[in-house]
Structure formats: structure tokens, C-alpha cells
């Protein structure tokens, strides 16, 4: 096998040591090219421009000391083997380095040309082995995910068949059925739904693992979602005579979250709570704020169930974990629900955790970021900590031509939102997230860092881009209007944060007054269509 010349990057600030190491490497008569730099910053730059075969690293440099030095090198070059050269024995530091991925820790005084050469050679080999192991592990995960996604799809087809024929029988479309037969068919249909839910969870978990789970956050009232979740779970709870109640703050602040996903989490937690609570118990959902954490709102789901053992608590969010005691005659599912819930909450930037009193109760808590227009606006209207001089609020209205079919118009609007985001400058303009109202979101707002004269270019671009969407052409029209955002007069003596806050307030005010007229406009249109 041909031996390619290895490139050694020596990061060493002591010229005497550097010469000595160079000498040792020459003595070893191996095919090595050594380049030497004496600062960490130069080393990092060199790794970036021409990645070496191996890095020989002194820890104490003019611009970095100790473990910080190898941490930065490993971060810059995760695939390049690193060997540390140190002046002194320090077993604790050496171990720390090895655990973080450094290949070897050598003491300068002990160096001979043979030990140095061997250490470098093995470091390169070990790193190559690691890399290929890592590759094959990734391939296996990818293969497993593809397999799961294929299997889920294949399972759906026969499941659909069972569902269709059972419901034909159940609905009496194949002839009259007895009450007992009806009962049995109901059990079949219920099991089909369970199986369907499991397949969906399997796909979701697969997506979560391969990083393909997506959320579409918007500004929404959490309390509405809690009410929806309760309404969906209540019938099942009533059968067990369990009460499901919302407690406290109905004036909770708006959150910035994906309504479908948050509903999924809420249903999952509430459904679990009902499942593990004995008859006549209660499940309480509570919304609250915490003074120590003003940017988040908290949701707790508390039951009067039999609790979770302390050993099980740390495992409960793991994939496929099942409570070994959960045998109440319930089929317990795949054990993916809480794993998916955790992934979804994390995607929102929140956290989820659990506390339990065995034999008494369990409380799941998660938090979601509070919607803050000024936080979203800040990087756009105050880049480099200076407030922009002029801003314009653009409103884009989509209007359906006729009363549209379910799903379709909502999709048109969602696609328009995506397209609009691509039509603006990411660093200068902000397409505001949709407000959670009933029905499809067909009014959009953009805060643009421009002035009234130039805003035309932007609105023309948006209207042009959106009007070529094929199914908008068939189903609706588009209109864009712009209004200048005037700053309040006494802005000068305020801090930048306060100024951004004021702009956000002004934008909200404009939107709210616009919304009112918009509503009137909608009502009129609907009436006209109905006639």
C-alpha cells in the first residue's frame, strides 16, 4: 500500500521545544511534512484552510491555556487526530483530554523519535477506524429508519382494508346486524384505530431520530388548545368517572408554538394521565407563569394515579420505555408517546419533566416560549445594536374566489407564507408568524426595513411570485398594501431594548386596527358569496 506523506501540524509557542520535536521527527526517518505555528488562532486557521493528517498540540499557548486549548482544536477539526505534548504529568487533565476525543497525551521530557513517531502513526490509524465505525453506525440508523418508514406504509394498506370492511358491516351497509355483532365490530374498529395510532407514532419517532420532525410555530392562545385536548379526552375519562379540568389562568400570555404539535403533546399527557388513574380520580391541567422564568409559560398535567416509581422516573421519556407495572388490562402501546412529546417540546425550545408521589399522583410539566414580537423583531430592526431609520408594515391579503374545499385553501395559504419568507431579505425583513385564529390564515404581515418609496419593489416581487402558484390562480386573488411605521417622538433617550419594544407595540397597534377593518371586509365577502 502506498504510504502518503503525512502532514503534521505542530502548534507550539516555545521555539526550543519546536526545534526539538522537529529534530525527533526527522530522526524517525518517516515521511512527514511538519509545519509549525506558535499561536492557537494560527493553528485553527491552518486546520481550516488545509486540514493536516495529525495535530501535535502544546496546551499552554499565548492565546489559550489548558483544556480550553484542546477543546477548541477538537471543535474545529472533529475528524483530525490530536496528540497533546505537555511539559508536565497531569493524569486528570490527560484523562479529560482522552475522554473528549484526544488520541494521546505525551510528556515532552520522555520523547524519543521512536515513541513520537509511533504515537502519531497509531493516532492516525485509530482515528480512521473510529471514523469508519461512525460511518457504518450512521448507515445502520439510516437503514433502520428507511425500513421502519417502509414497513409503516405497508402496514397501512391491509389496515385500511380491515377498517373499510368492518365499517361497512358496522354501518349496516352489508345487511342488518344484531346488537351483539355491532358490539364486536366496534371492538374491531377501536383496535384498528389503536393500530393506526401506533403506526403514526412509529413514523413520528423515526422522524424525530433522523432529525426530520418539523414544527411551524405561530402566535397562539395555549388555553384554547388545552380546552380542545380536554374535550377530546373527556368522553374516555367519563367512562372511568374521572374528571378532567382546566385550572387557573385563562389570561395566560400568547405562546410561540405549533398548534398541531402542542395539541399532540397535550393529548398524549392527558390521555396517559387518564389511563393511569383509577376510577373516580381526577386529572387537572394548569397554566402558569414563573417569576424566575419570564420568557416561558408552564403547563402541568396532574393526575391522582398510582404514581411512578423513582427507578422508572429517569427512563420514562426514553424510546420504547414501558412501565413494567402498567398491566391494568390496558394495552400499553409502543412506548413512544412521551419520547415524541419530549422531542416536540424540545423543538419549541422548551423542556418537559415529571415528578411523582408513588401511590398518590404524577405531575408532568412542560414549558413553551411566550410570544414576543420585540424578541422576533430585534435582530431585524436593530442589527449591530442600532435601530433602523425607516420601517414599513406590509399587509398581504389572499382572497378565495369561492368557498373552498377543506384542506386546500389552508394549504394554499401555508404555501404562500413559505414563499413570502423566501421573497424577503432574511436579515432585513420579518414575515410575522401567523396569528392563531379560526380558519385559514389568509392575511399576512411583513415588517420591512425599507421606506415607502422602495417598498413597492418588495410588494411587486411578492405579488408576482405568489400569483404564479398554480392553485392560487384557480382559487384566489392577492392584494398587498403598505403602511409606514412612524416612531413615537420621544424615542431618543430610551435604551435600544425599549425602542424595539415601542416599535413592536406600534406594529401590534397597526395590525389590530387593520384586523378590525379586515373582519368587516371578510363578512361582506362571505355574504356576497352566499347570495
Amino acid at each position: 500500500m502506498p504510504d502518503f506523506r503525512k502532514q503534521v501540524l505542530l502548534i507550539e509557542d516555545n521555539p526550543g521545544d519546536a526545534d526539538l520535536i522537529r529534530l525527533r521527527l526527522i530522526e524517525s526517518r518517516t515521511q512527514l511534512d511538519v509545519s509549525c505555528v506558535n499561536r492557537l488562532s494560527e493553528g485553527l486557521a491552518s486546520i481550516e484552510s488545509t486540514p493536516p493528517s495529525v495535530v501535535l498540540l502544546d496546551l499552554n499557548l499565548p492565546d489559550s491555556q489548558g483544556s480550553e486549548t484542546f477543546r477548541k482544536v477538537l471543535e474545529k477539526a472533529p475528524g483530525v487526530p490530536v496528540v497533546i505534548l505537555s511539559g508536565k504529568e497531569d493524569e486528570a487533565l490527560a484523562m479529560k483530554a482522552i475522554h473528549q476525543g484526544v488520541q494521546d497525551y505525551l510528556i515532552k521530557a520522555d520523547l524519543t523519535s521512536r515513541t513520537l513517531e509511533r504515537s502519531l502513526r497509531y493516532a492516525v490509524e485509530r482515528q480512521a477506524v473510529l471514523r469508519s465505525l461512525d460511518m457504518s453506525r450512521k448507515q445502520q440508523i439510516e437503514f433502520k429508519n428507511q425500513f421502519l418508514s417502509h414497513v409503516s406504509h405497508e402496514l397501512r394498506t391491509p389496515l385500511t382494508c380491515i377498517h373499510q370492511y368492518a365499517s361497512l358491516l358496522f354501518d349496516g351497509l352489508s345487511g342488518p346486524i344484531s346488537p351483539e355483532q355491532r358490539d364486536h365490530l366496534q371492538t374491531i374498529l377501536k383496535s384498528v384505530n389503536q393500530l393506526h395510532a401506533m403506526i403514526r407514532d412509529l413514523l413520528e419517532a423515526t422522524r424525530a431520530e433522523s432529525g426530520k420532525l418539523r414544527i411551524e410555530p405561530r402566535c397562539l392562545a395555549l388555553v384554547e388548545l388545552v380546552r380542545q385536548a380536554i374535550a377530546m379526552i373527556r368522553p374516555m375519562a367519563l367512562e372511568k368517572r374521572i374528571t378532567v379540568e382546566l385550572e387557573g389562568d385563562s389570561h395566560a400570555p400568547l405562546v410561540y408554538a405549533d398548534p398541531d404539535r402542542v395539541l399532540e403533546v397535550l393529548i398524549n399527557l392527558t390521555d396517559n394521565a387518564v389511563k393511569f388513574t383509577p376510577p373516580k380520580g381526577s386529572v387537572t391541567i394548569k397554566l402558569s407563569q414563573q417569576a424566575t422564568d419570564p420568557e416561558f409559560t408552564y403547563v402541568t398535567v396532574t393526575d391522582t394515579g398510582r404514581g411512578i416509581s423513582p427507578e422508572a422516573l429517569p427512563l420514562i421519556f426514553e424510546r420504547l420505555y414501558q412501565d413494567p407495572d402498567a398491566v391494568d388490562g390496558n394495552r400499553s402501546g409502543l412506548g413512544l408517546g412521551l419520547y415524541i412529546a419530549r422531542e416536540l417540546v424540545n423543538l419549541h425550545g422548551g423542556r418537559i419533566w415529571v415528578a411523582s408521589q408513588p401511590g398518590e399522583s404524577t405531575t408532568f410539566t412542560f414549558n413553551l416560549p411566550i410570544y414576543s414580537l420585540s424578541k422576533l423583531l430585534f435582530p431585524v430592526i436593530a442589527p449591530e445594536r442600532r435601530l433602523r431609520e425607516s420601517m414599513v408594515l406590509v399587509r398581504v391579503d389572499l382572497k378565495p374566489l369561492a368557498s373552498p374545499v377543506r384542506g386546500n385553501w389552508k394549504e394554499v395559504c401555508r404555501e404562500c407564507l413559505d414563499l413570502m419568507r423566501r421573497c424577503v431579505y432574511a436579515d432585513k425583513d420579518l414575515v410575522l408568524p401567523a396569528m392563531a385564529t379560526n380558519g385559514p390564515e389568509d392575511t399576512f404581515y411583513i415588517v420591512a426595513s425599507t421606506d415607502m418609496e422602495r417598498v413597492n419593489i418588495m410588494t411587486t416581487r411578492i405579488v408576482e411570485q405568489i400569483s404564479v402558484l398554480t392553485h392560487l390562480k384557480a382559487t384566489g386573488t392577492i392584494r398587498a398594501t403598505a403602511r409606514e411605521i412612524r416612531f413615537p417622538a420621544e424615542m431618543q433617550d430610551k435604551t435600544l431594548e425599549q425602542q424595539v419594544e415601542q416599535v413592536a407595540e406600534r406594529v401590534t397597534e397597526l395590525i389590530l386596527t387593520d384586523f378590525r377593518t379586515m373582519n368587516d371586509f371578510n363578512t361582506k365577502e362571505t355574504n356576497a358569496n352566499a347570495n
Binding site: R156, D171, V192, H196, R214, S403, V405, N408, E411
Partner: protein, 145 residues
């Protein structure tokens, strides 16, 4: 047959004709039974090629289309329907086992009216069928036969 078509011109949706396209014969049968019980007329096809041929011959008022099909998949069928002036007005409801995340928008972009993942809720499906037939007719796009 002639009288049937004449009847369809009047806004009597319960006699509308629906083309079912699915490669699974049992599923086609189940859908047919369900739709007939709701007073729709049905015709069915098991692959992409016969789907287009039947659409041309029978001029259905609505098409229920699976995506995974032999001889031209569902997207090909959608494309062919869109390209044909005589057929492009027919509302198409996609009913598939495939994942909505990667197929729903693509279906709607290709001209479908709605997207359902199997197994679909029958009541929801029937509701969308009614709404689609209604808006197709309210638009006056049903060509004279």
C-alpha cells in the same frame, strides 16, 4: 345512459359519478359499496393507464385517486388530467397510504382538490366529496356533454 348524464347537469349531486382509482381490488370494492350506499354512481380502475382511459370515456364528476399505482403512478395521472382540457376541471381527491408530509403539498400542487391518508375517516371523506362536487358545479365548470 344519456338520461343519466342529463340528470347530472342539473344540480343533483347524489347521482354524481365517481371514478375510483386504486390498485387494491378489495379496497376498490369497499369504496364502491360505501359510495353506492350514499347514492353515488361509481366506476373503477386499477392502474394509471386505465384511469385516464376511463376518465375520458365516462367523464366522472369526481375522481378518488391512489398515488401508488402500476402503469403510471398517481402523480402521472394528475398531470395527464391537468393537461387535458376536457378533464382538468374534474375534482380529484387523493387517498393514499403514503406520508402526507412529503405527498400532500405535491398532490395539491399537481392539481388535487384534497388529500387523505389511509385509513381515512369515512364521514370526512364523504363530506369533502360533497363539498368538491358542490364547488365544481357552482363554478359552472362542468362542460356540457
Amino acid at each position: 345512459m344519456q338520461t343519466e348524464i342529463k340528470k347530472n347537469d342539473a344540480p343533483n349531486f347524489s347521482r354524481a359519478k365517481i371514478l375510483i382509482v386504486d390498485d387494491d381490488p378489495e379496497l376498490r370494492m369497499a369504496l364502491k359499496l360505501r359510495l353506492r350506499a350514499n347514492h353515488y354512481e361509481t366506476v373503477s380502475a386499477g392502474d394509471g393507464y386505465s384511469a385516464i382511459a376511463l376518465a375520458q370515456k365516462e367523464r366522472p364528476n369526481l375522481i378518488i385517486l391512489d398515488l401508488g399505482l402500476p402503469v403510471g403512478n398517481g402523480f402521472n395521472v394528475l398531470k395527464r388530467l391537468q393537461e387535458n382540457d376536457a378533464l382538468s376541471h374534474i375534482p380529484v381527491i387523493v387517498l393514499t397510504a403514503r406520508d402526507p408530509q412529503s405527498n400532500e403539498l405535491r398532490s395539491l400542487d399537481s392539481g388535487a382538490t384534497a388529500f387523505f391518508q389511509k385509513p381515512a375517516d369515512n364521514n370526512e371523506l364523504l363530506q369533502v366529496i360533497r363539498a368538491s362536487l358542490h364547488s365544481a358545479s357552482a363554478w359552472g365548470t362542468t362542460p356540457p356533454s
